[in-house]
Each structure stands twice: as structure tokens, then as C-alpha cells.
Subunit: 437 residues, 2 copies
């Protein structure tokens, strides 16, 4: 090891694992692998756990099993359970077999839960107290655990009965300062909020946001306590969910970043651009239907993108509000009709307000009251179409058990383009017919 490398390692060892991970993120792959191999297993493992997904995956594959196992042994079983599915089956088996039996068994238990459920997020490093214990006995248990230093940061202690079922919660503070001969069941709070192992991670984040707890216990459906989730884990889920919603809405994968390599990004984006292209041809074919009308009255081509574009923008405002409220569980099933009414009122008022301006400009600019009237009417109708589809598209996707955000802006602008072109050119054709233009 060179002197320079040695100095670098010394510096890295002083960093918090999350900061060390940031540094590893910016090194080349061989450099990062070199640093991870030279560091003691504990800081190396913790930094590995903090890396972004792509870099983590690269490094897991770049380290041999005999280097990897000591790193993984330093990590909480749930952190390892998040990492190992990325390994090819043979390497995964070799790595797991190189771990101590207890760590391996705990990881394998956690691997049974789907990664996007409370079971997939929870940690199994928690201390459960029995309801019939004395407080003195509970303190002894805690003291023994404290020496192991292998539990998560604690704010609450959960209480179970003889059947491992959750029956209450005690704050660490209460446990410490109540009289030693009392029983845990006498001081515990029985109204304890919890998650089930198969609750979706969105629900997990929502429960934390709703109740503001620092931790929540996770139960099997039979009521047995099997893990805990921390508020800070919920924060990461919420960030990831919000990113996913924003990205899905516009036809992105949900996990693209500004510095995602471009060959990967092409694969993620191009398919949706092709979907969008297909819908654009649909809209273009509406224009094509009316090519004769445009040939006689080319001023229509000038106003065409205004009618369609304003519909698209207003519709995406509606869509953004609805998708967000659905994602955060703030829109109950019965609220759909009220939201639709609100959006239609907005569509009508915005349509009248914008339509009046567009109509006036159309009349004065092209010296044609007919054009003004057509533009006005088409704008009002298209704003109503935008409001309707901004509510119906995400609720419809949800009905079909698809993420309400999925490419919804692409579907929406298809509606507003098709409707906008059809209303505007259709009305123009009628007016030309009636007035004999």
C-alpha cells in the first residue's frame, strides 16, 4: 500500500459512513474497490450499505465472496437482505455460506418478505419485553443487549405476550424511571400503532407521516412481533415514492438520476417517447381529417397549437393534484365525485377566462369574428375535456390496479390534443359550411 493510499484511508476512516459512501461514489470503480478492500470490515460494510444502488451493485459484483462476507457480517441482517438479491445466485449462495449461521438464518428469514413491503424494510434488531416481566428484569435484559451494541437506536420498547403477540409499548424513559418491582404490563401503553409485514411501503410512509412516531413495530398477520421500522427509513421511502410519481407521470422509469449513464437512460426513455409518438399520430390524423378546411382557411393552423396546448397545460395541473393526493392516500374513494365537480368548475371558469382572450385576439388579429368565436368555444370545450381527463385518467389507472402516475401525462395530452383539434377544426368546418365561406 502506497503512502498516498495510506493517508487517504486514514482520512476516510474518520468519516461518517454516509460521507464515506459519497466519496466512494465519486471514485472510479477500481479505486472504490481498492478502498473497500483495504478498509476494516465495519466501516467498509457500512459505507457499502449507504452507496447509491448502481454503484453498490457494481461493487458487490467486483468483490470476491471471501472479502464480501466479513463486510456483510458487520451489517444489520435487513441491510444485507436488501443487498444480496443483486448478486447472481451462485455468488449469493457462496457469500451467505461464508457468514456465521445465525446471521445467515436471520437474513434468509428477512429475504422471504417482498422488498416493497413493511417486512422488506423492517429491521429484526429490536428488543421485545414480556408483559409479565418486572421492570427490574426488563432493565437487566436491556443492559445485556446494550453490551452487544447490535440493536437499532431505541426510543420505544415493544411488549409481547407469551405467544409473541404485540400487546403494548413502553418508552425507554418510563422503563428507566418507574419502580423496579412493578410489572411491564402495568406501565405499558396498550394503544400501540403497528404495521403488518405485507403492508405496502407507501402505507408505511403514510403511517409515519400521520402519527409522527420515531419507530413502528411490524407484525405477522397472526399478531406476532417480527420487526421494527424507523422513521428515517420511512423518509427514504417517501423521497423515493415522490420521485417515482414525478417521473412516472412524464414517462420516466422512476429511478433515473441526472448522472445516470446515457446508454441506460435511452433504454428507459425511448419506449415512452415511442408511445407518445403513436398518440401524436392519432392527434395528427384528426388534423389530417380537416386538411381541406385548413387549405381554405390557413389562419386556423396558427390557433391550433394554442387550443391544444392550453388544454394540455390545464389538464396536467389537474393531473398533478390528483396523482399527488392519491399517492399520499389523501383522496378517499368517496372524494372522487367532489374532486371531479371542482375540476369541472375550474375548467369552465378557466375556459371562459382564457377563451375570451383567445377569442378576442383571434377576432382582432385575423379580423374575423367567426375565428374568434370558434376559438372561444373550442377553448371552453377543451378545458372541460382537460378537467375530465385529469381526474378520470389517474382514477381509472388506479381502478385497474396500475400506478395512477404511470405515463398519465402522455395519456392526458393525447386527450387534450385530439379533443382540441377536433373541437376547433370541427367547429370551423361547420361555420364555413353555414356561412358559405
Amino acid at each position: 500500500m502506497s503512502e498516498a493510499t495510506h493517508v487517504l484511508l486514514e482520512e476516510f476512516l474518520k468519516l461518517h459512513p454516509a460521507d464515506l459512501a459519497d466519496r466512494l461514489q465519486r471514485l472510479s470503480l477500481p479505486e472504490a474497490r481498492g478502498v473497500l478492500s483495504e478498509l476494516p470490515p465495519a466501516p467498509a460494510g457500512r459505507a457499502l450499505a449507504e452507496l447509491e444502488h448502481d454503484r453498490q451493485h457494481e461493487l458487490l459484483l467486483a468483490l470476491p465472496a471471501q472479502k464480501l462476507a466479513p463486510l456483510l457480517d458487520e451489517l444489520a441482517p435487513n441491510v444485507v437482505a436488501d443487498l444480496v438479491p443483486a448478486l447472481p445466485p451462485s455468488i449469493r449462495r457462496a457469500t451467505l455460506n461464508a457468514l456465521p449461521a445465525d446471521q445467515r438464518r436471520r437474513i434468509q428469514t428477512l429475504l422471504r418478505y417482498a422488498p416493497d413491503t413493511a417486512g422488506g424494510i423492517m429491521s429484526d434488531r429490536f428488543i421485545a419485553l414480556r408483559d409479565d416481566m418486572t421492570i427490574e428484569r426488563a432493565r437487566e435484559l436491556l443492559r445485556a443487549h446494550a453490551q452487544e451494541e447490535r440493536t437499532e437506536d431505541i426510543a420505544y420498547l415493544y411488549v409481547i405476550d407469551a405467544g409473541q403477540r404485540l400487546v403494548g409499548v413502553v418508552s425507554l424513559r418510563d422503563l428507566v424511571f418507574r419502580r423496579a418491582e412493578r410489572r411491564v404490563s402495568e406501565i405499558m401503553n396498550r394503544d400501540v400503532k403497528f404495521l403488518y409485514v405485507d403492508d405496502e411501503e407507501e402505507k408505511t410512509a403514510r403511517q409515519f407521516e400521520h402519527y409522527h412516531y420515531l419507530g413502528l413495530p411490524v407484525l405477522e398477520r397472526n399478531g406476532q412481533l417480527v420487526g421494527v421500522v424507523k422513521a428515517s427509513d420511512a423518509l427514504e421511502i417517501a423521497q423515493a415514492e415522490a420521485t417515482e410519481d414525478m417521473q412516472l407521470m412524464v414517462g420516466l422509469s422512476g429511478d433515473e438520476r441526472a448522472l445516470t449513464p446515457w446508454p441506460k437512460a435511452v433504454g428507459l426513455r425511448l419506449p415512452w417517447l415511442y408511445v407518445n409518438l403513436a398518440t401524436a399520430f392519432l392527434a395528427a390524423s384528426v388534423v389530417n381529417l380537416f386538411e381541406g378546411t385548413i387549405a381554405k382557411w390557413t389562419a386556423l393552423a396558427v390557433f391550433l397549437p394554442i387550443i391544444a396546448g392550453q388544454g394540455g397545460n390545464a389538464g396536467i395541473q389537474t393531473l398533478t393534484v390528483i396523482v399527488r393526493d392519491l399517492a399520499l392516500g389523501e383522496l378517499s374513494p368517496g372524494d372522487g365525485r367532489r374532486a371531479l365537480f371542482k375540476e369541472l368548475m375550474l375548467g369552465l371558469i378557466n375556459g371562459l377566462a382564457i377563451g375570451a382572450v383567445v377569442g378576442l385576439v383571434g377576432w382582432l388579429w385575423k379580423d374575423s369574428p367567426e375565428l374568434g368565436l370558434i376559438a372561444f368555444a373550442a377553448m371552453v370545450l377543451n378545458q372541460l375535456a382537460a378537467a375530465l381527463s385529469g381526474v378520470v385518467i389517474p382514477l381509472g389507472l388506479k381502478w385497474f390496479k396500475v400506478d395512477p402516475a404511470l405515463a398519465s401525462s402522455i395519456f392526458l395530452t393525447t386527450v387534450t390534443d385530439v379533443a382540441g383539434f377536433f373541437f376547433f377544426l370541427g367547429l370551423a368546418t361547420l361555420v364555413m359550411h353555414w356561412t358559405g365561406m
Copy 2:
């Protein structure tokens, strides 16, 4: 009080404050005010604190100061400091004067911090240990506090020196299980992460996401410890920030919800739709420039929205990725050039891939190789314009100290519409000129 009301109150009293708030949210204003007035101050205050912003504001104004003060006295000073700015000055003064002097002083201290900073979010209910205390003395202090029941959930205890400056952190568990005669300074961890009172709330959320702590201490710039922030507060901030980004991008206020009353929503949305209309006229005036070209070759009107629309969609994909990374602090200043390179590569490849299809369809549908070639070239150029503006617009807004999300999709589609129309119709005019069509 009627029997029915009594039964309802009994039921409400059993609920968690957050669930009680959900019920109050769905009652009419007079009903909700009635329930809050009848409930004991502690549950009423906690439910009030959990309400959504609009309903909270209505109820604060609907309750007289002598009813309000006991409710506010039950709440943490920082929660009250979040509520009272919504009151008109005279009511605010009357309400604060009705509170005990200590509570009032603490609220007034917290009101000095801007609401969107760590100081504006932090709680002043924390226990600080002195570094020169014995562990025994620290335990006594904690026991005294535990009887007051007025601190937040605790996972860590922060350590200060004689000048109130933060010097370390101790876990509650360590404090409880280490030998009583040792000093706090001997068992504390000196590498403690913290926030400054004037740190923006985005930074607060990012620190929690980065380090996964359950709480962070907040310091004045001189190093004095003045408050603590909990991970669950950071979760709420992160949710609000993500919503704001999504909404600002499409020209919404950042706090509209699906059931926001429509008259309020009109006021929030219509101004941005007018901005969008102005930019739409800008784009339309480009089409107007080429009206003569369209009059001679109406098939152009059919392809016009495809070229512009695909540019808009691709640009919004870029924008969404950049805005998200800027918001979460994942794009460092030096990364801008790399991100731009990536997006231009994507623009080129997507442009060639989509342009080839559009060109081929143009050629075959309209039996015109010239139209195909023009559509192909305009699509490639507009995809490059989309990539460029998707990076430059948010970075530019940030440069001018404006939120990078603010109405950025409106600015972006202006660029892609103007550029798309100009490239497509400009090329068509040139080709017609050359070929003498």
C-alpha cells in the same frame, strides 16, 4: 349537550390525535368548532395541531381567545409558534397574553425564526446534559424531566459545555447502563451532526436522509444548542417539498389539494394559464410567419403538432430529472456540464430514433420524400433544443435564486414549441424555395 353529542365525544376521546383530526376535517365548520369546544383542552389542542392547514386556520379564527388559550397551553411551544402567525394581530396578542408567561416567552423566542428554516421547525423541548456532570447527576435530571412529561420522544441526549455550546451526544441507553460515577464527557460521542437555526428546511430533510438519525440538534451560529428536530418532522418537510416541486413545475402553487375549494384554486391556477397563453401566442406568431408556406402545403399543418409535442415531452423528461436532483441536493455545481452532455447525447439519439419514424411516415403517408426529410431533420433539431432547455432552464432559475421548479415546464414547452415550429416550417420554406414547389 345532547346524548348523541355526548356519545360522539366519548368516541372521539378514544382516538389518537391524528385520527381525531381526520374526523374533524370531515365535519362542517360549526360541528368541528362545537366538538373542539367540548373536548378537554389536551386532546382538543393536539387534534388542532394535526389538522390540515386550511381547516386549522378556519378553526383558529372561529374559537374565542379564552377557549383557544387553554388548547395552546397544552401544545409544544414550537407547535403554537406554527399556528399563531395565521391569527390577525389583535387576536394573536390577546391569545398569547392569555397564556402562562413561560409558555408565551418560549413561543415568542421561536417566532423569531423563519418558518422554512431549521429554527422554525425545531422543538425547544429537549434535555441538555452538561459535559462535566456525573452520569448519576444526569440520571437525576432526566428523572425530574420524566415527571414533567413535557419533552419529545427521546433517543439521544445532547451534551453542552458551560457556554451552552454543543460538544457531544449520548444515547439514552448508554446513559442508563454506564457506571454512575463517570462523567458525561467520558462516554459521549464527540462527532455529533447538527443543523444551524438558519439552515433551510430542504437541507434539514437532506441531513436526515443522509445520516438516518432519529433526531438532530439545532445550533445558533455561535454554537449554542437551542433546539432539536425529529426525523418524523423531516418526513413531513420532505413530503411537502416533493409536492411543491411537482406542482411548481406545472404552474401550481405548491399547496393545492384535490379538495381545495374551486374559487381558491381558480385564483392559484389562472395566472399561470395566462402566462402560458402569452407564450402560446409567441409560438403561434412563429406559425403565423409561415402562413404562406402552410397555404401552399397544408400537409405541414398535420405534422406541426408532432414535431413540437415530441420536443415538449422529451424536454419535460429531462426537466423532471434535473429538478428532482437539484431539489434533493444530488447535483453538485460541477455536475452541470456532465448532465448537459448526457442530455444532449440522449437528445441526439432519441431525435434520430423518433425522427426516422416520423420521417418515414411523412414520406409514405403524404407520398413526399421532401416532407419526410424535413420532419426528420426538424425532429432531431427540436430534440436537441429540448435537451438543452431541459438542463439550462432549471439551472438558470437556480442561478437567479428562484426555485428551479417554478413554472419550468411552461418555459420549456415555449422553447420546444417555438423551436419546433421554426425548424419545421423554416426548413419547409427553404425546401419549397430550392425545389420550386
